[in-house]
């Protein structure tokens, strides 16, 4: 059997090299946890500010602890075995003892993982039931959320408000939480504001629900989390949590129809005409006017919003003018067309829209 080489021919290789990975992997894992925990991010999932996000956070800490433990034990044993049983030059030429298996050992490393799985499963189920399977309290605020390519529509049935892209909700406890009833006008989207709750998809022909109860006033950010086409990246979410008094004031103001008390001949009055005489009204609604389109965002109180283009652009007169002139230059793939307005018309229409407080 001369064609079988002697075993010594195989011993190129150096014991320490493959093993250097373990500390590397450990350091990396440690850095991931530390990095995530300390990061200053308005969308950090480990910085919850509402009950649904907090119960996920608590569960995630349990899961992280269990998995880290498993990693340390199994990874440690693996590293130990690789170092301890590496080939050494002084080893005798004979093969090591051949061991084919052991039913007792197999049984033990089957049963122990099953117990861990059952424990994790029960903890997980508790959070699922606590988030998804509780009845809507009587004091809840209803908001209908409709996803569009590439913006968000919000409706408050109780207040008769329709608005877009900037969701206002009151600070509340779980008994007065905001209930979001969600669907889509076109393709699938997903509503994800990490500090408030996990994500929930908005799917056409389907109604989903979720709830949020922000603990503190403030602005919570997020964005669409289901690929929905060209501008999926710029379909941003802004949730303004306000004290109940501030929220009521906001709602009272949003209920009003749009301003139409402009002086005849003023830029705003001219702009209103431009708006009403162009195709703008086919897609946009402005309460109290002939504009009743529903394909694009409701503009009744556009000037009360901080941003335009689904949170992508700050709402300033300059930006607004540029946006109306050619939306695709600011947000390529936006479904709003350029209406090829003249410079004067742009000035006027901008003057009109910036008056819609």
């Amino acid at each position: 059997m001369s064609f079988f080489p002697k075993q010594q021919d195989l011993k190129h290789g150096n014991g320490a090299r493959g093993v250097g990975q373990t500390p590397a992997a450990l350091i990396c894992l440690g850095m991931i946890c530390a990095g995530a925990a300390r990061a200053q991010s308005p969308t950090n999932i480990f910085d919850p500010a509402a009950t649904p996000a907090r119960s996920i956070f608590v569960l995630s800490m349990l899961v992280l602890a269990v998995t880290l433990g498993i990693f340390l034990v199994v990874g440690g044993l693996l590293a130990y075995a690789l170092v301890r049983f590496r080939h050494r030059p002084q080893d005798e030429a004979r093969e090591p003892a051949q061991i084919y298996g052991s039913n007792q050992i197999e049984l033990s490393w089957t049963v122990i993982p099953i117990l861990i799985v059952v424990m994790l499963f029960l903890s997980t189920t508790r959070v699922i039931l606590g988030t998804e399977a509780i009845a809507k309290p009587a004091g809840a605020l209803d908001v209908i959320v409709i996803g569009h390519q590439f913006w968000w529509e919000y409706r408050y049935p109780k207040y008769g408000i329709v608005t877009a892209n900037e969701l206002h909700v009151p600070v509340s406890d779980a008994n007065h939480a905001t209930y979001l009833t969600m669907s889509s006008a076109d393709v699938a989207h997903s509503f994800w504001v990490p500090r408030l709750a996990g994500k929930m998809d908005l799917i056409p022909n389907r109604i989903n629900t979720m709830w949020i109860d922000p603990e503190q006033a403030g602005l919570y950010l997020g964005q669409c989390a289901q690929y929905c086409g060209t501008q999926h990246a710029k379909m941003l979410l802004r949730v303004y949590a306000q004290s109940p008094a501030d929220f009521d004031a906001w709602a009272a103001q949003q209920k009003l129809p749009a301003r139409n008390d402009f002086f005849a001949g003023s830029a705003a009055a001219e702009g209103e005409k431009v708006f009403m005489q162009n195709a703008c009204i086919n897609c946009h609604a402005i309460a109290g006017t002939v504009a009743t389109g529903r394909f694009g965002p409701d503009l009744t109180h556009l000037a009360s919003r901080d941003t335009i283009a689904a949170g992508a652009i700050e709402n300033t007169p300059e930006n607004l003018r540029k946006w109306i002139d050619d939306p695709n230059s600011m947000k390529p793939g936006s479904l709003m067309p350029s209406m090829h307005l003249s410079g004067k018309e742009l000035d006027n229409i901008t003057a009109y829209l910036t008056q819609l407080q």
């Binding site: 990975q21 991010s41 999932i45 996920i56 199994v74 080939h87």
Partner: protein, 561 residues
């Protein structure tokens, strides 16, 4: 002893193998039905697509280097991630693993060829055509490249984005047809491999004596049968929707977007196991040889593999935890998904026990397996995090998920594949690959892998969703994306070293001989490269490690089974 005689008989085959053939090089490869040649064509074809799809990944990483970057347009970026994902799964992962299966399975079970050699050639060529068709969309879909035509619906192409109203033009059709054809090829090869394993084993090779690689390919291809069929059916339904006015997924006419998700993920999740089972297969062969010990717990390994195969069919909706399945659906799929970690754990423990008490030789195939073991462990643990549905409500569709499945696909599967290349290259070419270059490849790729995919978890935890062509400043994602991008270049450099090593070793590598690793399975009993007929005399085996028996007549494996 009949084994000894049989294997000795093979000694005299190399001369016959060199008998000159009259057909030209091109004709020989185009018309071949030899499982080894088809296997090599599968592998080469997949490597070409690996480089293409890897290049697409690098373009994406450059675009994501800084917030609000303008390196590529949103349209181009969306095509890049669609093509990267589709290519890597259907035109790299599947063919490269089918290629290795084609090459190795008949050799390891002592067969002359696959059960259906011509079906084998057909399957390869139709899959190859599918890949070309997909990429033809870049130039042919609706005009020139600048006109924009490659598919941009994402690799899981959720309805109704694929409807004609949202995806006009023909790019989505190229995607649909390419997957349909590649599905036909996959089902053909799966049929072939299953039949080969069940019917073509050499005398004495009971199912319980098959190399674990053959077991895993049996399970893998059984899964391909069950899972590629729904995908293929869904592609037909989608085409009917797009052109003949049916409404399966057309939500505007009452169709169901969720139906597509079910179809896709009943394929898509078992697909992960279709890809990872062969990686287990390579590790099952390589770890024992370089630990110089028999695999620990062979029956448990077989049971775990078959168990994974079955359980993997009942976990698909864990991709749909955010669809609103309701608490009952969610808890069921949480349980099914978590349970799969038990057989997977059994595998890791058995590899650990195989190494335990062995004499580990850190040659290049083994160090890639060591990388596999640690990285697969981490990938499994992040998988448990994602299996906890509420945690997934946060992590799903974020960069955490992207990092998790690349840990599986690159950290586990690609590392195992690299190990397989270094391990079986001598068998295929008769020459060893350079150990020095192999270690450079390992170090570069390992550093790149960890830079990219360890740090990719973090933006996900900080709320960064996947599939966005750019992102806002001030969300805490900036620096991480640069580290991730740097890692991509290390991986590219490692891959170049690997390709160079393969090309160079083909000419200058040390002669390997039939059995350079002192291994134990049948493929090492024939010459390197094996003759067209594989074995001059059909081998007869009496144990799981026929060459061990041959080398250690005083300590036969068959005594312990």
């Amino acid at each position: 002893m009949s084994t000894t005689q049989a294997v000795k008989g093979l000694d005299e085959t190399p001369v016959a193998q060199r008998s000159h053939r009259s057909t030209g090089f091109l004709r020989e490869w185009l018309t071949t039905a030899d499982h080894k040649k088809i296997g090599l064509m599968y592998i080469t074809y997949a490597l070409v697509f690996l480089v293409i799809a890897g290049f697409e990944a690098i373009l994406m990483r450059i675009q994501l280097w800084v917030p609000n970057n303008h390196f590529v347009s949103p349209q181009v970026f969306n095509r890049l991630f669609t093509m990267h994902g589709t290519t890597m799964v259907f035109f790299v992962g599947m063919p490269i693993l089918f290629g290795w299966g084609n090459y190795l399975v008949p050799l390891m079970i002592g067969a002359r060829d696959m059960a259906f050699p011509r079906l084998n050639a057909f399957s390869f060529w139709i899959s190859a055509f599918a890949g070309v068709l997909l990429y033809f969309s870049y130039i042919g879909g609706s005009g020139l490249y600048a006109a924009g035509s490659a598919p941009d619906v994402g690799w899981f192409a959720y309805a109704p984005l694929t409807a004609r109203v949202f995806s006009p033009g023909h790019s989505t059709d190229y995607w649909t047809l390419a997957l349909l054809l590649s599905g036909v090829g996959s089902i053909g090869t799966a049929l072939n491999i299953v039949t080969t394993i069940l019917c073509m084993r050499c005398p004495g090779m009971k199912l319980s004596r098959m190399p674990l690689l053959a077991w895993l390919y049996l399970v893998m291809n059984g899964l391909v049968f069950v899972t590629v069929s729904p995908l293929t059916a869904a592609q037909i339904m989608l085409t009917l929707d797009r052109y003949l006015g049916s409404h399966f997924f057309d939500t505007q006419a009452g169709g169901s977007a969720v139906l597509w998700m079910h179809f896709f993920w009943i394929f898509g999740h078992p697909e992960v196991y279709v890809l990872v089972l062969p990686a287990f297969a390579f590790v099952n062969e390589i770890v024992p040889v370089f630990s110089r010990k028999a695999i620990f717990g062979y029956p448990a390994m077989v049971a775990a593999s078959v168990g994974i195969g079955f359980i993997s069919l009942s976990v698909w909706a864990h991709h749909m935890f955010t669809v609103g399945l309701g608490p009952a659906g969610n808890t069921f799929f949480v349980f099914a998904t978590m349970v799969i970690s038990v057989p997977t754990g059994i595998k890791i423990f058995n590899w650990l026990a195989t190494i335990w008490g062995g004499r580990v030789i850190f040659a290049t195939p083994m160090i890639f397996c060591v990388g596999f073991l640690f990285q697969f462990l981490v990938a499994g643990l992040t998988g448990i995090m994602l299996a906890a549905a509420p945690f997934d409500w946060q992590l799903g569709n974020s960069y955490f998920v992207v990092a998790h499945f690349h840990y599986v696909l690159v950290g586990a599967i690609l590392f195992a594949l690299f190990a397989a290349f270094y391990y079986w290259y001598p068998k295929i070419t008769g020459r060893m690959m350079s150990e020095t270059l192999g270690k450079w490849h390992f170090i570069l790729f390992l550093v790149g892998f960890h830079l990219t995919f360890d740090f990719m978890h973090i933006p996900g935890l900080l709320g960064m969703p996947r599939r966005i062509y750019t992102y806002e400043a001030g969300r805490g994602w900036e620096g991480w994306n640069i580290i991730v991008g740097i890692g991509a270049f290390f991986q590219a450099a490692g891959t170049l070293v690997f390709v160079y090593n393969m090309l160079r070793s083909y000419k200058t590598g040390k002669a390997a001989g039939p059995d350079p690793w002192d291994a134990w399975t049948l493929e090492w009993s024939t010459t390197s490269p094996p003759p067209e007929y594989n074995f001059a005399v059909t081998p007869t085996v009496h144990s799981r490690r026929p060459l061990w028996d041959l080398k250690h007549p005083e300590d036969l494996d068959s005594d312990y089974e």
